[in-house]
């Protein structure tokens, strides 16, 4: 296979990998807890991009059957004409999961802020050490 074609043919995948790496890096390397959550969001969105990419067909349209109000049974449906709906459904679920996790993470962060007054990991650990010493 031609290298250029190989790269172009999977361009979506390469980009999703880059996005995933960005998100993953933010999750494990950023010292700010909110940035971790941002990274989490990017990570999950990247995975959604990946799934959507698997569903796409060249030259296909959105998966809503046309002529729906006409005589559907007699009308032959050309599968190649419509995009694959299954990954879309899965990703709807994934988006919901994403926003739920996001909400929960933000709620936790508000509690963190109540306790420590900051989102910086190093500052939190300093506070913890001070608390430890007080004991």
């Amino acid at each position: 296979m031609d290298t250029a074609q190989f790269i172009i043919g999977k361009f979506n995948y390469w980009v999703y990998i880059v996005l995933m790496m960005i998100g993953f890096y933010a999750m494990i390397a950023k010292r700010n807890l909110v940035k971790k959550v941002v990274g989490m969001n990017i990570f999950q969105t990247a995975i959604i991009l990946f799934f959507i990419s698997t569903s796409s067909k060249s030259g296909a349209t959105i998966p809503i059957i046309q002529n729906a109000h006409g005589d559907a049974a007699g009308h032959a449906i050309n599968v190649a004409q419509y995009a694959n709906p299954l990954p879309h459904v899965l990703m709807l679920t994934a988006i919901v999961v994403m926003v739920s996790t996001f909400g929960v993470a933000l709620a936790l962060l508000i509690m963190v802020n109540r306790d420590y007054g900051t989102f910086e990991e190093d500052e939190i650990y300093e506070t913890l050490e001070v608390l430890q010493l007080k004991k």
């Binding site: 990570f43 999950q44 995975i47 698997t54 996790t101 929960v104 993470a105 936790l108 509690m111 306790d115």
Partner: protein
């Protein structure tokens, strides 16, 4: 007539969670009995499922009536049904235990939410357990995880921070799992486990499959806190409320271990995960490291629950080791250990909860002479400890027996030795604890001696007995009875259930 128990097993706790919230807004007091009753029903359903499986073989329940590759199905064989029984029974007992402990550790206005989330967590776990669709497992994994994050976050001290760490790690784990699903989907186009089982063998040479497998494994390893990826667990489980620690320690990691087994040996054939790629070798060494690391860390801890957490990490190592030796004895040991460990960990965390409830003590060095105050609890602690160490009549011995036999059958002498060495480390942990409890002179007593010279005898009457209330003691007794009975009847359990769970070719 298809049994409807599989569907009811999930929707009963789910609907109960919704109703619990609604009823709780009207009257707070009804939540607790309602939750207990619901989980009691779950226990009945899970036993019914087990009965059906034993009578009629594998259950394939079509949700929505759509045939499998298109719709979602429940796929229940002996392994699932067994895990479902463990999860539902343990959570039932935890629910009984929860009343007093939660009333003490939580503000009363939060109790209804607590019980709602408690039921949702169990819904999630049971959903993972009986699902036959890899994406559906992800969805329920997220329900369980979200509920788990919240339940851990309502603990004390650093609970919120620990919970946040858990959110980050848990999301990475879940996302890796989802990536695995995606990779499998992109080359097979299917999500159904049975369908994939027939599709995958033709694709074993594909790199996509290999990476999918790797991501599945890493994702689940994070969820079950396998050794190098365990960092979130000790903090999270230590600072969670006692009830929650007992529940999550006993069930969540076990369900994760189940998913790992399911992926390694049902989704992928043993041929793939053992011979084609050296998963079992890697897992074996990782598990061995987990056992040793868990043991060493457990010795070094002073917080009781934290000690238990590290022991839990070691126990997960046992289960994974049993899976990784890949033979009949080892696998039997792993499945048996899933059950035993659930019972033992629940029991130990119950005891930690009871002690905390009654005395507010958390550190082991504060437990001096606790046996005078809470003799029954301490007796139960000793029995549970013996089981974790693996002393014969208790259940812990028998799973270790099969694990070691499995290691020896696989010619892994080193692993067999490490299993025993890790037991010894756990023995040291509990030995230190028992020594502190029984043989450390209380400071008050020493002082009394120095001044008045009264005999020990008179001192004994100063410690009045003060046990935890019955709603906490009964679950502890049930678990202790379980530890003893499951040990004695482990042979029957193996011949009735576990032997069917062993994958073909072992």
């Amino acid at each position: 007539m298809i049994t409807q128990s599989p569907a009811l097993l999930i929707i009963v706790p789910l609907i109960a969670a919704l109703l619990c919230l609604l009823m709780g807004l009207i009257r707070r007091g009804v939540c607790y009995p309602f939750v207990v009753a619901t989980l009691g029903m779950c226990v009945i359903f899970s036993f019914d499922i087990m009965g059906t499986v034993l009578r009629e073989g594998v259950i394939r329940y079509r949700l929505g009536g759509w045939e499998p590759p298109w719709g979602i199905e429940y796929l229940i064989d002996h392994l699932n049904a067994f895990i479902a029984i463990i999860v539902s029974s343990v959570s039932f007992i935890v629910a009984i235990f929860s009343k007093k402990s939660i009333e003490q550790e939580l503000h009363e206005s939060k109790i209804i939410y607590f019980y709602t989330i408690f039921l949702l967590l169990i819904t999630g776990l049971l959903g993972i357990t009986i699902s036959g669709d890899i994406f559906n497992i992800y969805v329920f994994l997220e329900i369980a995880s979200l509920a788990g994050y919240a339940l851990i976050a309502i603990g004390r001290d650093r609970a919120v921070l620990a919970s946040f760490e858990y959110v980050v790690m848990g999301t990475i784990g879940a996302c890796f799992y989802l990536l695995g699903v995606g990779y499998l989907y992109s080359v097979t186009g299917s999500l159904n486990i049975m369908d994939l089982t027939t599709l995958l063998p033709n694709l074993y040479q594909s790199k996509v499959i290999l990476i999918a497998f790797a991501f599945f494994m890493v994702g689940i390893a994070i969820k079950i806190a396998l050794f190098p990826l365990h960092v979130w667990l000790p903090d999270a489980y230590t600072y969670a409320p006692s009830t929650v620690s007992a529940l999550v320690a006993a069930t969540m990691t076990k369900v994760g271990a189940y998913v790992m087994i399911r992926i390694m040996f049902t989704l992928f054939q043993p041929y793939f995960s053992i011979e084609l790629i050296p998963t079992t070798t890697i897992l074996g060494w990782v598990a061995a490291a987990a056992m040793i690391f868990g043991g060493i860390q457990a010795i070094a801890q002073t917080d009781f629950k934290r000690t238990l957490c590290y022991i839990l990490i070691a126990e997960i190592g046992y289960i994974v080791l049993g899976v990784s030796v890949a033979n009949r004895s080892g696998f039997t040991g792993a499945v048996l250990h899933i059950m035993n460990d659930a019972v033992m960990m629940a029991c130990l965390f119950f005891i930690a909860g009871a002690i905390f409830y009654k005395t507010g003590l958390r550190y082991i060095y504060e437990f001096k002479n606790l046996h005078r105050k809470m003799p029954v609890t301490i007796t139960c602690l000793v029995i549970a400890a013996l089981s974790v160490v693996g002393v014969p009549p208790t259940c812990g011995f028998f799973s270790k027996w099969y694990l070691v036999l499995g290691a020896i059958d696989a010619r892994q002498w080193f692993f067999a030795f490490l299993l025993l060495a890790s037991s010894l480390m756990v023995a040291v942990v509990f030995f230190k604890m028992v020594q502190t409890i029984f043989f450390a002179p209380a400071p008050a007593m020493e002082a009394a001696h120095a001044h008045s010279g009264t005999s020990h005898h008179n001192e004994e009457h100063k410690h009045s007995r003060d046990e935890a209330p019955a709603s906490m003691m009964v679950p502890i007794f049930v678990m202790v009875a379980g530890i003893l009975l499951l040990g004695i009847f482990s042979g029957q359990i193996i011949s009735a259930i576990i032997q069917y769970t062993v994958p073909e070719g072992f």
